[in-house]
Symmetry: C2
């Protein structure tokens, strides 16, 4: 029997270690201990290696880990996690380093677990539509592997990220409007917890399409950004490769007309596979970069998947909706080469934006609002960009209400970096004020922790902290991220 007071103290204890824990840095003996687990060649303390692992593709400057290890299997991950737990050393999982919110920065030093050597595709199942992958398998390598199976994995964030890394950040991208995000497509995860225990979030080797058995641990770990455990295996849903694919492009007189078309396409139940928005600034940049001559107007890039007859019908319906909304230059293509040509502008948008200011870097903002709020937030954001004199062409997954400003800036110009930071905070708060989220698909990482608090409120943050504290009582798992 415990008293209420004892329990309250226990609970407080569970919430507070994050604030109080002292991280230990890595000693030579500790490095030897790691070597004894994975072998000499799979441990590095070289500064170049550590620096390579100390940052991702975001604006956050490099914070290298003390040591990088390359585990070969889950047993090694578990043993090394347990070593870290015993010695109070931080753990940072590393996939391809293509994150956008500083998720791999080693704020407290510690051990970076580079998972790329665990790269096997396991158990492709063509009857049950699933596959199991190790954390080194990337999205593109999986689809290459699946090429002759008639199946594919549709979640596509752009970068050739590792699938377990995509699970860790709840990634999505262009296909989400039809196929959902990682949250919808992860069936099961194998996770190493901070003390080295190995958890199968849905039970070992389970791969059903649905369940009501207990708490949904799978979706607790999807989007947890390495702060609750290291993902060492993921079972994912697969889909049949569509018989036919048609790409299309259409310009609109204004943003409202483009968004209205999107809403009506969804209202009609047209199972659109992709519906991407570029603003006039981005279209102009793409024209210049790719030698194209699209009208410099808000533009939608669309893709339809289905049977020959189905995509034909979808295309016809969509054409009618677009016409009703004053769309122009509606062009479509069926063959792959033609489709690629049509989508060149969208595919190269990031590089086209970069080319606006040679020698600069780019940082992608990431907010998501109810679709009906898109015209308002995009118009306001464009006005803000003008007034702030910042370069930030807009590309968006408009079917989800998710859009990005590709901020092109000189990272050596401290004043500009500060201005961009202020702009992105304003943008996030604008999304929050419209019932939206401060991140649709990039995650919280380092920079959005304050925004997360504003988004979910005090009770929400407290509950997240309680969960973090009970699963990672020493706050060793990717410390300083998310909460």
């Amino acid at each position: 029997m415990y008293t209420v007071r004892q329990l309250r103290n226990a609970l407080r204890l569970c919430i507070t270690p994050a604030l109080n824990w002292r991280f230990h840095h890595v000693t030579p003996q500790f490095v030897e201990d790691l070597r004894s687990v994975v072998g000499d060649s799979n441990v590095s303390t070289a500064m170049t290696v550590r620096e390579h692992h100390g940052r991702d593709e975001s604006m956050h400057s490099c914070q290298p880990p003390d040591v990088v290890v390359w585990p070969q299997n889950v047993e090694q991950v578990s043993r090394m996690a347990n070593l870290c737990f015993t010695h109070n050393v931080a753990i940072i999982p590393f996939g391809t380093g293509t994150g956008l919110e500083g998720g791999v920065n080693a704020l407290k030093g510690g051990v970076c677990f580079n998972m790329t050597n665990m790269d096997k595709v396991l158990n492709v199942n063509t009857e049950d539509f699933h596959v199991t992958v190790e954390p080194g398998v990337t999205r593109k390598s999986l689809n290459t592997y699946l090429r002759d199976s008639g199946l594919w994995f549709p979640v596509d964030p752009g970068a050739d990220a590792s699938l377990c890394g995509m699970a860790a950040t709840s990634a999505s991208g262009t296909n989400a409007v039809r196929y959902g995000t990682m949250r919808d497509n992860v069936i099961n995860l194998e996770v190493v917890l901070s003390d080295g225990r190995v958890l199968d979030t849905a039970g070992k080797d389970r791969r059903f399409r649905k369940t009501s058995a207990g708490y949904n641990l799978t979706n607790l770990f999807v989007g947890s950004e390495g702060t609750l455990g290291i993902i060492t295996r993921a079972t994912l849903r697969l889909y049949g490769v569509p018989e036919a694919t048609v790409a299309a492009v259409c310009a609109f007189p204004n943003i409202q007309a483009a968004v209205d078309s999107t809403v009506q396409i969804l209202q009609c139940g047209i199972p659109i596979a992709r519906i991407e928005f570029l603003d006039d600034v981005m279209v102009n940049a793409c024209n210049k970069f790719n030698g194209l001559n699209y009208s410099i107007l808000p533009t939608l890039f669309l893709e339809f998947h289905g049977t020959e007859a189905a995509v034909k019908e979808q295309l016809k319906q969509t054409g009618e909706i677009i016409q009703l909304n004053g769309g122009s230059d509606f062009t479509w293509a069926r063959e792959q080469e033609e489709r690629n040509r049509l989508w060149t502008a969208r595919h190269n948008a990031f590089y086209a934006a970069l080319a606006l200011r040679p020698g600069c870097q780019a940082y992608s903002t990431d907010v998501c609002v109810p679709i009906s709020q898109l015209p308002r937030i995009i118009v306001d954001t464009k006005e803000d960009l003008l007034q702030s004199r910042l370069t930030g062409p807009i590309a968006g997954h408009v079917g989800d209400g998710n859009f990005h400003c590709i901020m092109v800036l000189d990272l050596n110009d401290k004043a500009e970096v500060h201005k961009v930071k202020e702009f992105t905070d304003r943008l996030a708060r604008r999304a929050l004020s419209l019932n939206g989220t401060c991140t649709g698909e990039h995650g919280i990482g380092i920079g959005k922790r304050k925004l997360l608090r504003e988004e979910v409120g005090e009770v929400g943050i407290d509950v997240m902290k309680q969960i973090k504290a009970t699963l990672d009582p020493k706050n060793l798992m990717n410390p300083g991220k998310v909460i």
Copy 2:
């Protein structure tokens, strides 16, 4: 600074209260305290009322709460939860009482929160495809409310359950193959925690289609069966009403052929809306009950949603697949009346099963396996039924790998009840041995806690217990359920 030992003790303390806590029963003064929150007419200690709230539609016999309350708003729920927290009294949320695993049984007495007086539909949004409902709103009442909006909520477990209750058990049903389960369709939940704190799982009034902001609390509460908090509001995804609906029925020479057809339909990417399986015993029961003359064979009931042209094409493709697999008697219908006639057998399956043994009761089992394993498990289960001399015709959501035996039994015959219990445990373990789950959509409730442990393993149960203990440290929320 805490020592590892202190933290480990805290953690252990967090896991164990469930085993040690002493529940207090309700005193007259406590009932007065409840009355002062919700008013005299919204509190009852009458035995008939308590007994009405002490069981659901499962085999578990009645265990009445000490008192039933009808809160009118979230503030009252919060104040009464806090009263329970202070006085160590158990809380059991109650929707429509249509659960199937004893989720409302008051194992430890306490206060039953009947949520049906909070029954407003809030914020139907036709551009963003969502609605917010209070916990008294049922699935059918919502769709009646939406009738003129061109939108609908597709999750359909059969019973006219409350939507928040459906969220609590992660319900699904016939449409899940196309539209997903509650896990896929809940955008946000307002939840009262055990100490009375009010949590908005995705942040207050947030209603985006996707997010990567922090831990997915929404999906932690979906399927938590009232053991983590009381759901007081749910924001749900809506869908456009399809332009055309076609229903179809087809018989197969054997179970394998029916399942093969299902797999091929999914492989072809046909967006089938429903695909339901009845075994020969069930078809025979339906023929007798409804005066039909279907061939007494494994039978699929199908439904297609889309535009006129799309459903026509889906029907044609499906017809070809069915023919290749030796299907016969393929019949389809377009008009609502005709469709209802065609699906009568499926709709009345439960009552047709009951009619096999007049005066008996029915209990529905609920397992889910990878689709490819369905023929094997159904054949084995039918053999088991024969050998056990039990009546249990089979109906299944075959597109999800989920099926039910409608066990018809005499609840007064202890030996038969015991035999059914043994059979259902064998069935669940058969599902587990085929990588499946012991519950696809009914939940764990009272009877499947041991099976849950077998399904998710020791680490899985420990993690669930940690989460339960940190969010409900006094184990007051629906105690004795799930874990």
